[in-house]
Symmetry: C2
Subunit: 466 residues, 2 copies
């Protein structure tokens, strides 16, 4: 025989309305904030169940995390792309994001491609460049297919100088080499979707002055341990994506003696270029992140994302051990601040390969110690901490080299796990610039792009075989 | 007729043992952590009572705080000391701290004076320099008496290059001009108490190369708003005393184009000097602090300290409106980290004019956002925050330009009030280097010097007329 107890207390899991109903009747209730994994989607739950019960995924993830956290990429030199980047030859442009055909290329990237086509000498002006590109006379290839990552609306021609980033795996396997362009700096520049004469001139300055000068500096300084500088930058308030001021300045001070030793013809313009470019360190950091993810992507069977890129039209991710992209439409950039008089209607969708930084513990994962990023996310350091915490929910580990003083010197979250993304519905948020949709005026603001969930779900099913 | 209440609760103020006695008997007690002002010293309490009830002190303090917080000092040029510093002529050295005679000069400062005497060409070697100094053939003057501040064991000769710092008061009064030397950098250098050939050579390098080069850079760049850079440095983890890395690097990046334009004979050595000197910004910051305190010291009747300096033998402070020093023996540097194999027995007492930084919201008041300083104070950011909070207890206001992201963007404490120091017994703590007591080996560690209370009490009585 059962007897009801004198007092009943309620534990409510999930929808809060039931807890409220108990409270309204004077009952005692403890509410547990719980949601079904993957929003309750039975197919996704099945895939998650399979992947979470597979020890091989966890083993692979542990090795991927180890590589992302411990690899040491060095900036070893600067070379013309066609001298050093595998598969670059003839009339070819390497662009941001997944593969795309000209008719689907977004306006800022079209402009950047036109500027590069003129700078390469294939066309006399942007009108002729446009016709060549529309005719398919210039081959378009994702930079990511050539071990390179490029920021915003970059398009890189064969004569462009590229940073060479080398990583020696500690397991004796084949050396890893990755590439990134030299950051073009602020103003009228192709990576911001400009195709003016000044934008074309910037590409020539990079090729004729900045690239050779930087190459000479590196010959004098020797290889640069990129992430050692990045770690110092983070302690000084960089997130190393939206802000690279501290890391850039550290580098410039350590290099100033080498700059002074450059030949007369390049010294002044190169120094002025450095002085005016606080985002100089962005592309070395991206190249280092690409080297880490290239090494990590040799591990099959992992659920950790090792490519994340956007071309202004599509957003895509890839998993280790496979060249397959999982793509969806590029999202708009939200939580945005626009330049005066501009707004969401003027903005192109999210663009660029720089989201690779968020995969290795930089950018959003490092927001918690960045006052500059906090200013974007709501103004308080608590807002910045929340951005880091969001990555902590979807990452498999913490960095042992990127530590956050403002978070008790905790390591930044590293290794975005597809399973956690789908289970929680929390996707990576990327701090990024915003380019003009079609006016050709370049950057119109900056904000936070939230990765779309769909391609993570698709990748989950592919990995689970469901 | 009176009746005792049924229940009695106790509020205990002061000594905790009474509260414990009540608790031991089962009583309810609220303990108030209170101590008598000035440790209960009746003379000091009388002086405090007089000064706290005087509206003229508060009025003067408000104006001093306004000047310290709003003055805008510019670095306007670099000149030989004897061309520009008032009263510098003949065989004279300007040294750190209050006035002192040769027989009382501490070993590190003696060595620095010898090195300067040789670099000036007054002696052929340090032996001859020592005899000249002992004979009184070189006049010794506190830098502070010539509107200058010098770090650690500096001694500045007439031919030394000095930073010229100009401040235009917003009240139309006479312009303020202050001076500071160029930071000598790390290694075998006189400001660390070295008198080797290399140390003497560094003084000549400053005079013959660094000074003229820096002058040329400033001519190209125009006047530098020193504290605008300092404010950025603080947001990037500098305290601007123990660490000036971020501010130095900001400056070097902004100047790299001007460095590249220097003539061949000075460009390389000057650039190498900048590349190796992350404390370069220390002396511009000190010069700016001196300009602020010079302007503030024109306000009579204030209880805010406007000079605080040490020469390795005596520690001294001054108040606005008076040239009188209140001095006591220089304290040892506590909470110290020593280089391997060295300890307190190897250490000279606290030395240098850099404590002027702590009077304007830099150094200790800015510790809360500095991971590098935290590493010194115990390791956690909470330790760094405690250092800032200690200054908040003895300061009259907060900076409107130096804000601390790690403290919710609160301003750093500004304006050390003698009254608060004596009332609480909390004296300024200064983050500083430690020099060898007598071995001549230079820096032996770093730590925190706690200002001695005695001279604050003496100044309090002088101000109160008690």
């Amino acid at each position: 025989m059962r007897v009801l107890p004198d007092e009943i207390a309620v534990v409510n899991v999930g929808l809060p309305m039931f807890a409220e109903a108990v409270r309204a009747q004077g009952g005692t209730v403890t509410h547990v904030d719980w949601r079904p994994p993957a929003g309750g989607d039975p197919d996704a739950v099945r895939a998650l169940t399979r992947l979470y019960s597979s020890p091989t995924v966890d083993t692979a993830n542990a090795e991927v995390l180890r590589r992302l956290d411990t690899g040491v990429p060095f900036l070893t030199g600067v070379r013309r792309a066609d001298e050093v980047v595998p598969g670059v030859e003839g009339r070819m442009l390497l662009h941001c994001g997944p593969a795309i055909t000209w008719e689907h290329v977004a306006d800022p990237l079209r402009r950047s491609m036109r500027a590069a086509t003129v700078a390469e000498g294939w066309a006399a002006d942007v009108g002729e460049a446009d016709r060549l590109l529309a005719d398919g006379a210039v081959r378009l290839e994702p930079a990511n297919h050539h071990d390179m990552v490029v920021p915003m609306a970059s398009a890189i021609g064969p004569s462009a100088p590229v940073l060479v980033v080398d990583l020696t795996p500690d397991d004796g396997s084949e050396p890893v080499r990755a590439f990134a362009p030299i950051n073009q700096g602020p103003g009228e520049v192709p990576w911001f979707g400009r195709d003016t004469d000044a934008a074309i001139a910037r590409l020539r300055l990079l090729r004729d002055v900045v690239g050779p000068a930087l190459s000479a500096v590196l010959e004098r300084s020797g290889p640069l341990d990129i992430l050692a500088v990045a770690a110092q930058g983070i302690a000084m308030g960089d997130d190393l994506h939206m802000r690279t001021q501290a890391a850039t300045n550290l580098l410039v001070r350590s290099w100033v003696g080498h700059v002074a030793a450059l030949p007369d013809d390049v010294r002044g313009p190169f120094a002025d270029f450095l002085a005016g470019n606080h985002l100089f360190f962005l592309t070395p950091a991206m190249g280092a992140a690409k080297a880490l993810t290239l090494w990590a992507s040799r591990v099959p069977g992992s659920s950790i994302v090792t490519s994340m890129a956007r071309n202004g039209t599509t957003f895509g991710i890839r998993l280790p051990g496979s060249d397959r992209w999982y793509t969806t439409a590029a999202p708009p950039v939200g939580e945005a601040l626009y330049y005066s008089g501009l707004g969401p209607d003027d903005a192109a969708p999210d663009i660029g390969d720089s989201a690779v930084l968020e995969l290795v513990g930089l950018g959003g994962p490092a927001a918690a110690n960045s006052p500059a990023v906090a200013a974007f996310l709501g103004g308080s350091m608590a807002d910045a901490a929340a951005a880091t915490d969001a990555f902590r929910r979807i990452c498999v580990g913490s960095s042992s080299r990127f530590t956050l003083p403002a978070a008790g010197f905790a390591g930044t979250p590293v290794g975005v796990d597809l399973r956690k993304v789908v289970a929680t519905g929390v996707t990576p948020k990327v701090n990024t610039g915003i380019l003009a949709a079609s006016s050709g005026q370049g950057q119109v603001g900056a904000g936070v792009a939230t990765a779309p969930l769909e391609c993570f779900v698709e990748a989950l099913h592919a990995l689970a075989g469901t």
